[in-house]
């Protein structure tokens, strides 16, 4: 006689014991924690600081051994998508080729590439054109068998032990690391070269001129990247140390040329601007939620968050003159202002009160210069609260997502979960957005419509970014992102 009930209980108990989980909070959890609006709410101010501090301490501790090197930790058990921006120069300049050879090396077929000396000497001969290569120290003087190792090489023996036959002596500093697997089978990859005039790294691929063909993303391991919106290829790593970037504050100008982001680790948070083609980020202002206007003339942002003790004013800066207009929060001072959204007229801004009620307001920045932010036209909430997500030009309305604010039950079981387009004048619902992954579980955390309203970028299941064109099925573009915007 088979007792399925008893067998099932025993089976499930046994199987459950097979599942082991590290007690440490993964970085992706910490990174994603920053994205949620409640982090900016006054009532949760302590949580913000707590999570941010825990996150930064943890992540920095995790990165400490390689914090002084310019490239990522060499060993990753589950490669992050940002690694698609392959840091290797030689012998492979792309991940696919390296992985193919790594597979062979793991089976013992490429013994030379698991020896850093061989890889460096090959690099010098094949890429630098050196006939003779001298290493000026042993590899074992340096920490770690997996690298990164910094190796000094030259065309002449620096110790003077051998006569120099090179009429034009050269030297270089080469950094190598095992990028795919640890010792003993991980192959070495040259990741950085300094010194030789005969070598220049490959020029970065130019970005397509159409802004819609790319989007800007923030990876879960903290890199700001420009991504091909059709196939997920990473064109650029704009910022390599973006662990403290606030995912909710990512923005891009409508012409696609400028990227704005906020470093939120410090109080007050700092807004930076960097060209989408790449370059050095420049600090722009203190504040949060930078949002370029549709015509590119203005930039709206929130001057501070209550967590940092500042007054959360709405600021609109003229990018040509630097002149600023400010709106004081008055009754919204304690909870702060979140996620300002420009309407297509280039003068009206919608914004969300970060606190617990889920109010959304609109303000005419030209016609209402002296108004306090709690005197703007209040659109919500109705029986439920809203998160403000963006603007849908095709329907002519603001995009909002419902949030639990009024239910007595712990998790608002009666909440009408979903994303909606609402009229910016009346607040009435124009339509419910559907066809995304799972509105019922509120999985669509962010929705970014392009300027036409025909193309949507959204963050969904397991940190994946999806693109939806018109009413077509969503297409998954790239996993491992905590934020993305056109």
């Amino acid at each position: 006689v088979i007792d399925v009930d008893t067998d099932l209980k025993e089976l499930l108990s046994e199987k459950a014991e097979e599942m082991r989980l590290s007690p440490e909070i993964p970085p992706r959890v910490l990174g994603r924690a920053r994205r949620h609006r409640f982090l900016n709410a006054a009532a949760a101010g302590g949580v913000v600081v707590g999570i941010a501090l825990i996150g930064l301490v943890w992540v920095r501790a995790a990165l400490e051994p390689s914090a002084h090197v310019a490239h990522p930790s060499p060993i990753s058990s589950s490669p992050a998508p940002s690694d698609l921006a392959w840091p290797g120069i030689f012998p492979f300049d792309n991940r696919a080729d390296a992985e193919a050879v790594q597979k062979a090396a793991s089976e013992g077929h490429q013994p030379g590439l698991v020896d850093a000396r061989v890889v460096v000497e090959r690099f010098a001969r094949e890429r630098l054109g050196w006939a003779t290569v001298y290493r000026q120290e042993t590899l074992f003087d340096q920490k770690g068998l997996d690298g990164p190792l910094v190796i000094h090489i030259s065309t002449c023996d620096a110790t003077g032990g051998a006569a120099c036959e090179d009429p034009d002596p050269q030297s270089a500093v080469v950094t190598v690391a095992r990028l795919l697997e640890p010792a003993p089978f991980g192959i070495w990859e040259v990741t950085e070269v300094e010194g030789p005039s005969s070598f220049s790294p490959p020029a970065p691929q130019p970005l397509p001129s159409d802004p819609l063909s790319t989007f800007v993303g923030l990876t879960v391991d903290g890199r700001l990247v420009v991504v091909d919106s059709t196939n997920g290829t990473i064109y650029r790593v704009l910022v390599a140390d973006a662990l403290d970037v606030d995912p909710s504050s990512l923005a891009r100008s409508f012409d696609g040329r400028e990227v704005y982001f906020t470093r939120a680790a410090d109080c007050p948070a700092r807004i930076f601007r960097v060209p989408a083609e790449g370059g050095t980020p420049k600090e722009f202002a203190s504040g949060l939620f930078p949002r370029p206007s549709p015509d590119g003339r203005l930039l709206a942002y929130v001057s501070a968050s209550p967590d940092c003790g500042g007054s959360p004013e709405l600021v609109v800066r003229d990018l040509a003159t630097g002149q600023e207009s400010r709106w004081k929060p008055r009754g919204l001072a304690d909870q702060g202002i979140c996620n300002p959204v420009w309407l297509p007229d280039g003068r009206t801004i919608a914004y969300e009160a970060c606190g617990l009620q889920g109010d959304v307001y609109v303000l005419d920045t030209v016609g209402q210069p002296g108004l306090a932010l709690d005197q703007g036209k209040r659109l919500g909430p109705g029986k439920e609260g809203w998160f403000l997500l963006g603007y849908d030009a095709a329907d002519g309305g603001l995009v909002v997502r419902t949030r639990c604010v009024n239910e007595a039950r712990p998790v608002c079981p009666n909440l009408t979960v979903g994303a909606f387009v609402i009229d910016p004048q009346s607040g009435s619902v124009i339509r419910q957005l559907s066809g995304f992954l799972d509105d019922a579980e509120n999985e669509v955390l962010e929705l970014h419509f392009d300027a036409t309203g025909d193309h949507v970028l959204f963050l969904g299941f397991l940190d994946a970014v999806y693109r939806r064109d018109g009413t077509a099925d969503p297409v998954k573009i790239l996993a491992g992102l905590q934020a993305a915007t056109w």
């Binding site: 199987k15 014991e17 910490l30 712990p410 998790v411």
Partner: protein, 171 residues
């Protein structure tokens, strides 16, 4: 009133994110593993569930609801994972060679029954795992999964019937 209630929840969480993770994530991972049969996927799902929990601290009116809600989120994420198989498949094909969810390959004395369980339709497996592993009543399962009680009973009956039938057939 609402603010006070919410702060009562937020306050204990202050600076204790790690403690919450250590306390609740392992149980959630075990549940996710039983529902998917895949350790890596289970770990990902729990992380994702935890992220969502973090985002809803302010929605929780009682600290006691954390575990219940985490469990519910895991179940929903598992459902979502299988529901979106089509999208995932397209992505995996394009990523040719990228590592994706693969069935577990554990071998032990109960391997056969384990595989039978994993081959059940998703919703049948969910109610069976919640009943026999989490020891929830059918009414609790209905609340957790937001399915009518009758549907839960029906899924349970069909799932167990299928397991019994297969095992007896083979016996």
């Amino acid at each position: 009133m609402m603010v006070a209630d919410t702060q009562a929840v937020v306050e204990p969480a202050r600076g204790r994110l790690g403690e919450l993770y250590r306390r609740h994530a392992p149980d959630a991972a075990r549940l996710a593993y039983l529902l998917t049969g895949n350790r890596a996927l289970a770990e990902d799902l729990v992380q994702d569930a935890f992220v969502r929990m973090i985002g809803r601290f302010q929605d929780l009116r009682s600290p006691d609801s954390f575990q219940w809600y985490l469990r519910r989120t895991v179940v929903n994420l598992v459902n979502s994972h299988f529901r979106h198989a089509k999208v995932e498949r397209t992505y995996e094909e394009r990523e040719a060679g990228a590592s994706g969810p693969t069935p577990g390959v554990d071998v032990d004395a109960r391997e056969d029954m384990w595989h039978r369980l994993l081959e059940l339709p998703e919703r049948q497996r969910v109610v069976i795992v919640l009943r026999f592993y989490e020891d929830l009543t059918e009414a609790q399962i209905a609340e957790l999964t937001e399915m009518p009680l009758g549907t839960v009973k029906s899924l349970m009956s069909r799932g167990l019937g299928r397991l019994r039938g297969q095992l007896i057939d083979e016996g």
